[in-house]
């Protein structure tokens, strides 16, 4: 028995890992999520705003990180729509516009058909210039975005009336996969105006460690990787899930994407932990046997 585990063929471990990831996908396993502090504070930042507040949704990511960030973006949009906030979409990444359109299609047009473009949400599209754009909209929004993605001047868009600069918006919700992203929003928008601009963000696992220094004073809410996405998704769906149920009670799969992707993640992490423990048990048993002999 001990010998078997000591000389364990690593292919058994590979098989376990394969099962740990594939079974939850095939079974569409979902686990309960117990949202942690950061996801809750992200939720509260958006939820505590009075209905009709203005929320800037900055989608700075691309299809490569869609796996981790897509569910966050979906939940942000759903949450804002459910609360009746006005949504201002923009992107500092060129392909960000595609991500915006995708979420507008799959969430707003599909489940909130009563929302009106130009009144409840507007897609301002992509603007080149990285942090320069952020600096500019902090003081002069219409100069950076004189028109929306279809070229309609902002003066003709009802919900853009009275938007002089970023300080006129109530919250920034940023989904970020790198540069430019959350770090730049914090450095150039929040840091100079700590009392006027608030931001919550969702970012990839690789990015997350770099964001911790900003919590909580500059960054009150952070969703880190797929785990953060799943927790926030749960909070939003628990409170507002009834709004997106179809007549037959079915819910579109996109609203469970985060928790679904967390299934393989959780099992695989637990497997990793078990493997570390098992490895050490074998090591110590082996040491004791050696000592005895």
């Amino acid at each position: 028995m001990y010998e078997f585990f000591r000389d364990l063929d690593r292919r058994w471990i590979f098989l376990l890992m394969f099962l740990a990831v594939s079974v939850p996908i095939l079974a569409q396993l979902q686990f309960p999520e117990k949202p942690t502090g950061l996801a809750e504070s992200t939720f509260r930042e958006i939820d505590d705003l009075p209905p009709g507040s203005r929320v800037l949704l900055a989608f700075d990511y691309d299809p490569a990180s869609e796996g981790e960030l897509g569910p966050m973006a979906t939940s942000f949009v759903l949450h804002c729509a459910a609360k009746g906030h006005r949504m201002y979409f923009l992107a500092l990444w060129p392909v960000g516009t595609r991500m915006i359109e995708q979420k507008i299609d799959s969430v707003l047009r599909a489940d909130f058909p009563h929302l009106v473009y130009g009144q409840d949400y507007v897609n301002l599209g992509f603007k080149t210039g990285n942090e320069g754009v952020i600096k500019l909209i902090v003081s002069d929004f219409p100069r950076a975005f004189p028109a929306d993605i279809q070229g309609t001047p902002v003066s003709d868009i009802p919900m853009m009336q009275g938007i002089r600069n970023l300080l006129d918006l109530d919250l920034i919700a940023n989904v970020s996969a790198g540069y430019p992203g959350t770090k730049e929003w914090i450095q150039y928008a929040v840091t100079p105006n700590p009392s006027d601009i608030r931001i919550v963000a969702g970012c990839t696992g690789v990015q997350a460690p770099l964001m911790y220094p900003y919590i909580p004073s500059q960054l009150p809410g952070l969703l880190a990787a797929i785990k953060g996405a799943a927790e926030y998704e749960k909070l939003v769906m628990d409170r507002y899930g009834h709004l997106v149920h179809a007549e037959d009670g079915r819910v579109s799969g996109i609203y469970a994407e985060g928790r679904r992707r967390m299934g393989p993640q959780l099992i695989a992490h637990v497997l990793m932990v078990i493997l570390i423990i098992a490895g050490n048990v074998i090591y110590f048993v082996g040491r004791r046997r050696e000592a005895r002999s």
Binding site: G67, T204, G205, A225, R260
Partner: protein, 340 residues
Amino acid sequence: MKRETLVWTIVFVIGGVMLLANAFLRGAGNQYVRVDERAFVNVGTDDDPKWVNAGSDDILDHDAATISADRRVSWKTSSTVDARVWAEAERADPGQRTIVFSLSRTVGTWLAALFTLAILSFLYRDNPFYKSAESIIVGVSAAYWMVVGFWDTLVPILFANIVPELVKGTVMPGISDSPAMDARIKALVALVLGALLLCRLLPKGGWISRWPMAFIIGAFCGLRLIAFLHADFLSQISNSIIPLWVVDPATQTFDIWSSLENITLIAGVLACLVYFFFSIEHKGVVGRTARVGIWFLMITFGAAFGYTVMGRIALLAMRLEFLFEDWLWLVDPAGRHAIG
């Protein structure tokens, strides 16, 4: 050995039959595309063409009836759509031609799935499927980066500055035919160095290829020396200049936790630096400090390991989702294939 071969053959035959049945009975793995036509009309002369998009308002400024067919150009583009979209279009208008089945992309999806399986099979042991996939990727990727280097570097930076007329007339109609002087000089220098580099192929005089290598290594040594000292060295020191006595700005009282954190941070940086010290053997006080330094490094490594694991599992999950969702249609959580 014979017996093993037989077992594997049976496994593959049964698996293959099931895959084909899944494909033909359920349409699993089928790919559909939306076809769009792009058409342009030359409203200028043959020598000085002026092209107008036949799908835009601008074409209305010209009398289309008078433009002969040989002055029109058109081609089709296609973009992948979900099977559900195709099914809906078919239901609305049977036999429609805008959203159609794509054989090349369906074959591609199958090929991609088989390659995925071939690579994964290496985990069991080395085998002909893995070897084939490996041979293919070595050939394809070497050529891929050569093509990228040709079209993205050689053509726009080298050729466009050395033979601008030729490049403008063929592949990059948008460039200027009189490039800036400094761009030309740069391109010429690169051309000469490149030619020297290729001297390696000559039977004699291969040593001359050391010149361009010396240029590269020398120049980058200079650049990196400055860049690392300027960016990493100075900025890391600058970021570490923090007070060990932290006062909470809100309450104006001593903040013991933040102070402890800062003290640990500075002590950690200094201890790690002692570990990297080469002049003194790691004994006595220095040895003990270096030991603390190594502890900090180990915690750093543990943290990086833990954080990276999460992303790696997500990568595997994405690959398996491709197999189960896009290829086999075993699961359909987002309702992409649902027909009916």
